[in-house]
């Protein structure tokens, strides 16, 4: 039994959109919404990976809306897997190919194995399986999480990736509680990078910046071993905005610093694109309000909600040991070398996520006159009251 992973396909960076391959391996046949930025990364990912690829798809939008019987958009071989099974499907597929090639039962050649999952399937239910896959260093695989920040296929329910305060069908604002989604979004790529030191490549991206995303897919597939990619996908239906604004919102998520772009390659973290400019002080972060106000899911926000959101994003940039990536600071000092370690932000006061109380709209005992909505929040996706004849 050889311990090294099978050979990885070597894929060069695309570098510019004009140099992207013309061939499409994800074509017509899907039934996703207008402006869907979860379908676009499927197309870009398949384009970047090329024809010697097997794609595994968990249940979610990109299964139900995407892959209808007898009208599959997939030109490369594709197989459904269960909601929490992106990690295990990738491991099983890669292990199967590796065994057959080693034993001479199948032609020995590099084949890409990509398992995609949504934020519900990957960041919630399937997190353990993804974590296990990232420790299986003997297998070449890419876990590709498309994050549209809700269980969008089942009618927009809160997931572990739904932003704080966002309206979903499981977190509707009401007369007593304005904020029903009281959890801060889980930092999945940072957590996976921090916890899986043998994983050679972990990156964040967005289809709003397609070349960066495709090059990260190629870097992941070429790295050898298990890799992970997190992709933020604006969702017109779930985020409540006009479909024409999808790309704009994807870019704003980065420009406001809410969603940093980076890659962790062989244990070294580097920011990419706009995030690199922000980190290097060459560009100011835009206020989060510019991003949040454009989305109906935050239409119930009061000033204090915007302020709280801004404070949490500021924390990511000013207090995290690697801004936007590793979600803690260091109490120091380190004494590993004779020199005093230059660790930033020692003993910073933090809004500790383990207690709730004075955050806006949060407290279970709402402050009188401050908790609930002062106007009715309208769901612009709702089908309407059947009795009204709409």
């Amino acid at each position: 039994m050889t311990m090294a992973p099978g050979r990885a396909l070597k894929l060069d960076p695309i570098k510019s959109i004009k140099k992207a391959p013309e061939e499409e391996y994800y074509q017509s046949g899907h039934r996703t919404c207008q402006g869907c930025l979860s379908a676009l990364p499927m197309r870009l990912m398949a384009k970047a990976a090329g024809p010697r690829t097997i794609v595994l798809g968990t249940t979610g939008c990109m299964y139900v809306a995407n892959t209808t019987y007898m009208s599959t958009p997939w030109v490369v071989p594709w197989m459904h897997t269960q909601l929490g099974a992106a990690g295990s499907a990738a491991v099983g597929t890669s292990a199967g190919l590796k065994a057959l090639m080693r034993k001479g039962k199948m032609k020995d050649e590099p084949i890409n194995v990509i398992a995609f999952c949504g934020d519900g399937g990957g960041a919630d239910m399937g997190l353990a399986a993804i974590s296990a896959a990232l420790t299986d260093v003997e297998y070449n695989l890419l876990i590709f999480l498309y994050d549209n920040e809700s269980y969008a296929n089942t009618d927009i329910q809160t997931s572990g990736q739904t932003p704080w305060g966002a309206v979903t069908t499981f977190s509707p604002p009401g007369k007593k509680h304005r904020i029903m989604q009281r959890r801060w979004k889980k930092n999945v790529p940072g957590m996976l990078a921090a916890g899986h030191p043998d994983t050679k490549y972990i990156a964040s991206g967005t289809p709003a910046i397609p070349v960066d995303m495709m090059d990260k897919v190629r870097a992941a597939l070429s790295a050898g071993g298990p890799t992970y990619m997190h992709v933020l996908d604006p969702c017109p239906k779930g985020w409540h905005y006009d479909p024409e604004h999808s790309t704009e919102l994807g870019k704003l998520a980065i420009e406001t610093g809410i969603y940093p772009l980076y890659e962790v390659k062989e244990g070294v973290c580097n920011y990419t694109g706009t995030t690199r400019q922000i980190a290097q002080g060459r560009r100011e972060r835009k206020p989060v309000r510019e991003y949040l106000e454009k989305q109906g899911r935050f239409a119930h926000f009061k000033n204090q909600d915007f302020a709280y959101f801004q404070k949490k994003v500021d924390e990511m940039w000013e207090q995290w040991i690697i801004p936007g990536v590793i979600a803690f600071s260091y109490g120091g000092p380190l004494n590993i070398t004779s020199e005093k370690a230059a660790i930033r932000n020692n003993n910073v006061e933090r809004d500790n996520a383990s207690w709730a109380g004075d955050r806006p709209g949060h407290a279970h005992e709402e402050l009188e006159g401050d908790g609930g909505l002062d106007r009715e929040w309208v769901d612009d996706n709702a089908l309407g009251d059947p009795s009204s004849g709409n």
Binding site: T72, W78, M79, Q82, A99, L100, M106
Partner: protein
């Protein structure tokens, strides 16, 4: 081939003292499994310990993955199977239930995963010992389920499982029910054939045009909804109707090559030729049942025992033909089915349904016993036989009775 030649062929290979799980592992080795995934739960996990050692020693060349839960364990094997790997997996009790989502989709994907189920009581409260409810939870889903009696049958059933599962007319997963502790952890002498004989019995795994590979770029299991799901279900139903014939073929080949396996693949009869009543059950309870039959026969009782091997597919016609010869049948269930038609066991409920159309039906009584791994003793078997005898004589006896339980 004469009987003597068959015996000589059956003797080719080696004879070793082994537990049930070790015997399964030997069959996994000879089947040249490509991918296996492990997760610990007693009592099945002995098989993964044995498989791990075979791989460590270089006796089996397979990818060996220690999963982070049974759901992943079964998903890993399901997907390895889809790219053409022969896989082996297994679990017990609540571990099997934790994998339930994967267990549900594997037969409808028509992937021939072979699993050993070290039968174990479901929680709560925790119990290591045998009950059959774990494996039986998948009885409606397309899993083919076979129960074994001893370590030799563990070995034989595993080879049979691959042969039947991978037959293109079938392409279903097969679960091998191995009673926890009584078989998983009990040693008996078993015959292990050589590789050449196994290769004669078991052809290579070939998914044909269903292989997931860049040279065969198919989409597997897209969302079908009401447009097509019924047609797909019907195909699965058609395949399920073919399994019995394939088992019979495989059994005939098995007997020819290895010289073992009994008169028929589906059940074993023990001292039934002139029997007026029989006990009926699956798995390790056959041992105390056979002791009971011998003892009562010494006293002149016309009693016998019938042990079912294949529970899915249920051999309905064979059961009707065989069991209608008797006045009464006492079904011993190592399981329960709360709220079922007579609130008896699963096997009893299925057998009642199977016998409904028979022209002459034997009287059926049911015993629930040996739950949570409690021993079913020959004395309990005597007790059950006595109730069945009275049922045969037309006496008024309870339809369902719990055996060996403190009141």
């Amino acid at each position: 081939m004469t009987m003597q030649e068959t015996e000589e062929r059956g003797g080719r290979g080696t004879e070793k003292l082994m537990t049930g799980t070790q015997a399964v592992a030997q069959a996994v080795r000879l089947a040249d499994v490509d991918v296996t995934a492990a997760y610990p739960i007693r009592p099945y996990d002995g098989v993964m310990q044995a498989v791990a050692k075979l791989i460590a020693d270089g006796d089996l060349d397979a990818e060996y993955i220690v999963a982070e839960g049974e759901h992943s364990q079964f998903e890993i094997c399901k997907h390895a199977s889809a790219v053409g790997s022969r896989v082996f997996v297994g679990s017990s009790g609540v571990g099997w239930m934790y994998a339930m989502e994967s267990l549900a989709v594997t037969p409808s994907l028509r992937l021939p995963v072979v699993a050993m189920i070290g039968n174990r009581a479901l929680d709560d409260p925790g119990a290591f010992g045998v009950e059959h409810n774990d494996a039986m939870a998948v009885r409606d889903l397309g899993w083919q389920l076979v129960w074994v009696e001893n370590a030799q049958e563990c070995f034989d059933a595993t080879l049979m499982a691959y042969r039947v599962a991978e037959d293109p007319r079938v392409s279903f997963p097969v679960g091998i029910g191995v009673d926890g502790a009584f078989i998983t952890h009990s040693q008996t002498l078993i015959k292990i054939p050589d590789q050449e004989m196994v290769d004669e019995f078991l052809p290579p795994y070939d998914l044909g045009d269903r292989l997931l590979h860049p040279d065969n770029p198919i989409s597997i299991a897209p969302q079908a909804n009401e447009d097509w799901v019924m047609e797909i279900r019907k195909q699965t139903d058609d395949a399920a109707r073919r399994v019995k014939g394939v088992i019979q073929e495989a059994h005939d080949d098995f007997k020819r090559i290895f010289g073992r396996g009994g008169d028929n693949p589906f059940f074993e009869e023990y001292m039934t030729e002139d029997a007026e009543y029989v006990l009926f059950g699956m798995g390790s309870l056959s041992l105390p049942a056979k002791v009971m039959v011998r003892r009562l026969r010494d006293r002149g009782e016309k009693v016998g025992f019938v042990r079912l091997k294949w529970f899915r597919p249920f051999p309905t016609e064979e059961m009707v033909e065989t069991l209608t010869r008797f006045e009464a049948v006492g079904v011993v269930d190592r399981d329960y089915s709360y709220g079922s038609p007579k609130q008896g066991g699963v096997l009893f409920t299925d057998l009642r349904a199977a016998l409904y159309d028979a022209e002459v039906r034997p009287r059926l009584v049911n015993f629930i016993g040996g739950l949570g791994g409690r021993e079913l003793t020959p004395e309990m078997m005597d007790d059950m036989a006595d109730t069945t005898r009275r049922a045969a004589a037309g006496e008024d006896v309870p339809t369902v009775r719990w055996i060996g339980v403190r009141e």
